[in-house]
Amino acid sequence: MSTNYFEEEEFTTTFNGQTFLRLVKELKPVWFYLAGILISIGFTSVFDSLFTYLNKLLVDDGILAGDPSQIRLNLIRYGVLALLQAVFVFAFIVLAGIVGEKVQLSLRQRLFSHLQKLSLSYYSVTPVGWIMSRVTSDVNRVANLLTWGVIDVSWGILNIIAATIFMLIINWRMALVVVFSIPILIVVAIKFRTSILKQYRQVRKQNSVITGQYNEMITGVRVIKALGREQGSLQEFRKESLTMYNSSYRAAVLSALFLPTIQLISSFILAGVVYYAGWQFDNLPGGITIGSIQAFMNYVTFMMWPIFDMARIFAEMQLAVASGERIFSLLDSVPAVQDADTAYDPGSIKGDIIFDNVTFWYDDDEEKLPVLKHFSLQVKQGETIALVGPTGGGKTTTVNLLARFYEPKEGEIRINGKNYRDYTLHGIHSRLGIVLQTPHLFSGTIMENIRYGRLDATDDEIIDAAKLAGAHQFISDLPKQYEEEVGEGGNLLSVGQKQLLSLARAILADPEIFIMDEATSSVDTMTEALIQKGMDRLLQSCTSFVIAHRLSTIKSADRILVIEDGQIQEMGTHAELIRKNGKYYQLYTKQFRQEKEAAYNLLTDDVTPVAAD
């Protein structure tokens, strides 16, 4: 996947008919509303042309013929039609709203559901922002095309047809002059629109550059001040803001030219009509009436607007189809890890765990450099394994494979004697407990967040879990206790508190395998002790894998693995490995010093772990 793939709003230059058809199919469930829209639009645009025609009748049969009853009659018709039209306008706006919202609702829901199926390998190569844009702005754009695009185009076409018919009725010769000039207007209008759109895309791009510059200046203001770079950075910013000025200027000037250009072209048509009408009036007595001339001039003048709208839609259609392409590419992507057809829920995943000659590389690595190489390991039910070693050594990959977020490229992982691919994903995941290094919480209350571990848990069970995790104390001190909101991503809580909650969540889930990635950032001693207590509870009851950063955790493990370069370099108990005086010894002594220094809190304010991910 090239980096370009993730560039925002990349144009597909060719119009993809297949995608377009697929987009149109999205309208199938709402065809009923769509039919309503088309009918309402049909009446609206026919009425638009009728108004002009009624005015002609009013002039010719009323004023010129000296018949006030005709004036009244035609104005009553006019009024009734206007009322009816208001009803149709109401109808198509409402219906378009329904269609648009329904299309969005359904596309979003499908995208989201599909995202839940996709594997971690998808997420590791796809930026969150990219996915977000698919689900938000691309869906918006597609829905817009499918509603307002359809409306504007059908209104435009019907409007032109209706006007043409009336013109033909009034005076077919003159009508033909007008009809043949329409394509010129359309072509010019589409050309214009497309370049205006391109200019505005430029403006948007530049706008994000500007925002980026602000962001960098504000976050780096200390460095700018320290290096006395204010002048230089202002110069750089001025350059960008000038580019912004220039592209905005070009876009706006182009827009300002658009309307006059179209008007000028149609004024030639108008002049033609005037000239021809005048000539007919002079030379063919009774050939044309004053009312007809006025009606013609009106039709010609107002024909511009549907052309205007259609040009906009055609220009935007390309973008919307590109959006559709991206949406479908997401919907069509196949999860890397899926249940086999014969997969079953094992009922329990207690038992020994065996990594049998496992080799693994990440899919986005073009050279396929293995992160784990011929990795073999046997773990007894109930054992606690501590994983230590440098960043990038393969610790995280090991637990990711165990959790079946990824699957081995070679070799296999057996749980309770069976290749874990024989089991369903749900069967495995629902029996896992995981506490991440940077604990992730969801917006909502504390209660809701703990309940995430087991949805049918009672409030009492949740409080029990919180007590076991050592989280009850701090929760009780909060003003609203368990009903306290944790904020977006849990950011109203401290890291330590988040960790306690995620422990409670895992305890509530009552897992059979427990995976923990210890936090590297510091928490105060009190919290630290609480976390330790909560962890112990889980370590006792499960087969556990801990990416360990704290000495106490490491020392209390049944077995310690030093993982480096995708392989187990050293393995054994704390005492065995210390005696070995190898890599573990070094890691341990370094960590020992740092942890103690931190404990005395004299020189430093944060602990740095053996290795940070």
Partner: protein, 604 residues
């Protein structure tokens, strides 16, 4: 014609901001007064051109077709329609052009000014202000202002001008008709304001729902491992589904507001139009006005009524613009740090620093430093040691005058620090932070960032070599041109620190402030960094914020800080002899080593 020609007008925006809102806005746009006038005149010309066409129509119908008294031929009449359209087009083009010059010109000036203003605001301000909030103000609020001061103002002018021109034009046909044609206008305006106020409220709800949906999505994506680990896919789908439906309902509600507004306003306008047609038609029938006048009238009446429908939207938008203006003004009101203030700028400084009874407290009265007195000889290294919150960092922040001390005095080479301009001090002081900030540009640009003069390739490479980062850089795909950050390589903490050291070496300051933290670095690179640091410290007065005893043993002067005060000072040899905090720290370090030994022995 498409080439923009931006002319810079220097302007101190902060100065024009008085206390009242409206005068402040006027002061801000004052230099664009002529452009506003020009754009309005252009709008007027465009309106005149369009209205003149109706008179031309009247002439064509009455004088040419009906009465046959026309003195001009058919062709000139037809071509006059083209000519008038051209005039109208020119007017509308120039109004568009000048509007963008106003709105973009004002915005550019505002952006530049805000950018410069923000980087000149005191360090304390940035410490307290949320980055996201600032960004919001300098982007969204500035954009709202752009629409407000440019487009909205001109749009309102256009609506009024169209009204005036067409009203007078109808008046020229028949004043009674003109009077009867504007009866519905107050109703249209009121309805429009009423609806758009409501719409803007409903729109806010809609945006809230949309934001909630985004948050749910974003949290789900960020927490994908948790979702999978607990097998909560179904639950998440339900949650998203609920938010999705909420947004759907809000969307429909917003849509319904529009669905009511447009037909309702259509009906009001239609009533006025039908009434106008009737009155006009009867007048034409009676011969009060000519048939041509009637036809001209049927064209003009649209131009009076329909633009009025948008007034509501414009007024609601403008009230939003006012809010944004206030939010931007809040930033502009904060006083800048006077960088150039000061009268003493020697050719070169020696680097002798003396603190005399320095006290520093924040505005809220919270004391950070008390009675700090010491002297640093030129070229010496001074280590600061003490627990978090003891004031180490604040102390060194006083030197480049990031903060202003409250009491006492600091001298540099015997001259009061306040006599040196801040810019001068910062030029002569280098800072290497614990977590250095690098800019998302090439490594080359990052290293050269600290010096404004041209730097030769050799100089830069030399600095990189001295900072022990040259070899690392060569392993990157584009060497020195490799971009730092998201779009290029992600540097480790130690690599960042060494790039920052190279940056400082190139800057070549006489005084150096260093946060000596090598804890985030692998053992192999620690030695490299130490070497780089030693290189850097040579011939400079260096202040080290120390985290480990090992790194300060060689310091010329060690200051031990505790509870905002210096409790001990001297060299390592002197301090270990004394009873006190330093010895305690030193003993703890020794104790840790003993503990470790015991630990390991116990295993064996």
């Amino acid at each position: 014609m498409l080439a923009a020609n931006y002319k810079e007008k220097q302007f101190d925006l902060a100065k024009v901001l008085g206390n009242k809102k409206l005068p402040a806005i006027i002061a801000m746009v004052k230099s664009y007064g002529w452009k506003y006038l020009g754009a309005s005149i252009a709008v007027g010309i465009s309106a005149l051109g369009s209205t003149a066409q109706f008179f031309l129509l009247q002439y064509f119908i009455d004088d040419y077709l009906s009465a046959r008294t026309a003195t001009v031929g058919l062709l000139p009449i037809a071509l006059s329609f083209v000519l008038l359209t051209l005039i109208r087009g020119i007017g509308s083009f120039f109004s568009g052009k000048w509007t963008v010059e106003i709105s973009e010109g004002l915005t550019k000036r505002l952006r530049d000014f805000l950018f410069d203003h923000l980087q000149h605001l005191p360090y304390a301000y940035h410490n307290e202000t949320d980055t996201g909030e600032l960004i919001q103000r300098v982007t969204s609020d500035v954009d709202a202002l752009r629409l407000f001061l440019g487009n909205n103002v001109i749009d309102i002018a256009r609506t009024l001008i169209l009204f005036i021109v067409n009203f007078i034009a109808i008046g020229l046909l028949n004043w009674r008709l003109a009077g009867l044609s504007i009866i519905a206008i107050p109703v249209v305006i009121l309805v429009s304001i009423f609806f758009f106020k409501k719409i803007s409220k409903v729109y806010e709800v809609y945006q809230e729902k949309e934001a909630t949906l985004s948050t749910t999505l974003q949290e789900n994506l960020a927490g994908v491992r948790v979702v999978k680990a607990f097998s909560r896919e179904e639950y998440e789908i339900d949650k998203f589904g609920k938010n999705n439906r909420d947004r759907y309902t809000a969307g429909l509600k917003l849509n319904r507001m529009h669905a009511f507004f447009w037909p309702v306003s259509d009906i009001i306008c239609s009533i006025q139009i039908v009434a106008g047609f009737y009155i006009g038609g009867m007048m034409a029938l009676n011969g009060t006005i000519t048939i041509g006048s009637y036809l001209a009238y049927t064209g003009m009446i649209f131009w009076i009524i329909f633009p009025m429908r948008n007034l509501g939207r414009l007024i609601v938008d403008m009230s939003r613009g006012f809010v944004s203006f206030e939010r931007v003004r809040d930033i502009l009101k904060v006083a800048r740090e006077p960088l150039e203030q000061g009268d003493y700028m020697p050719e070169q400084i020696e680097g002798k620093v003396a603190f005399q009874n320095i006290t520093f407290s924040y505005e809220d009265g919270h004391h950070v430093l008390e009675d700090i007195t010491f002297e640093a000889k030129a070229g010496h290294s001074i280590a600061l040691i003490g627990s978090t919150g003891s004031g180490k960092t604040t102390l060194v922040n006083l030197l480049p005058r990031f903060f202003e001390y409250t009491n006492g005095s600091i001298t540099l080479d015997g001259v009061d620090l306040n006599r040196y301009p801040r810019s001068f001090l910062r030029k002569n002081i280098g800072i290497v932070e614990q977590e250095p900030f690098l800019f998302s540009r090439s490594i080359r640009d990052n290293i050269r960032y600290g010096v404004s003069r041209d730097v030769t390739e050799e100089e830069m490479i030399e600095a990189a070599k001295a900072a022990a980062i040259h070899d690392v850089i060569l392993t990157f795909p584009h060497g020195y041109d490799t971009l730092v950050g998201e779009r290029g390589v992600t540097l480790s903490g130690g690599q960042k620190q060494r790039v920052a050291i190279a940056r400082t070496l190139l800057k070549n300051p006489k005084i150096l402030i260093m946060d000596d933290s090598t804890s985030s670095v692998d053992t192999e690179t620690e030695a490299d960094i130490r070497e780089a640091l030693n290189h850097l410290m040579k011939t400079r007065t260096t202040f080290i914020i120390a985290h480990r005893i090992q790194s300060i043993i060689n310091a010329d002067l060690i200051l031990v800080l505790d509870k905002q005060r210096i409790v001990q000072s001297g060299t390592h040899e002197e301090l270990v002899q004394q009873e006190g905090l330093y010895r305690e720290i030193f003993n703890i370090q020794t104790k840790i080593e003993d503990d470790l030994k015991k630990e390991i022995d116990s295993v064996n």
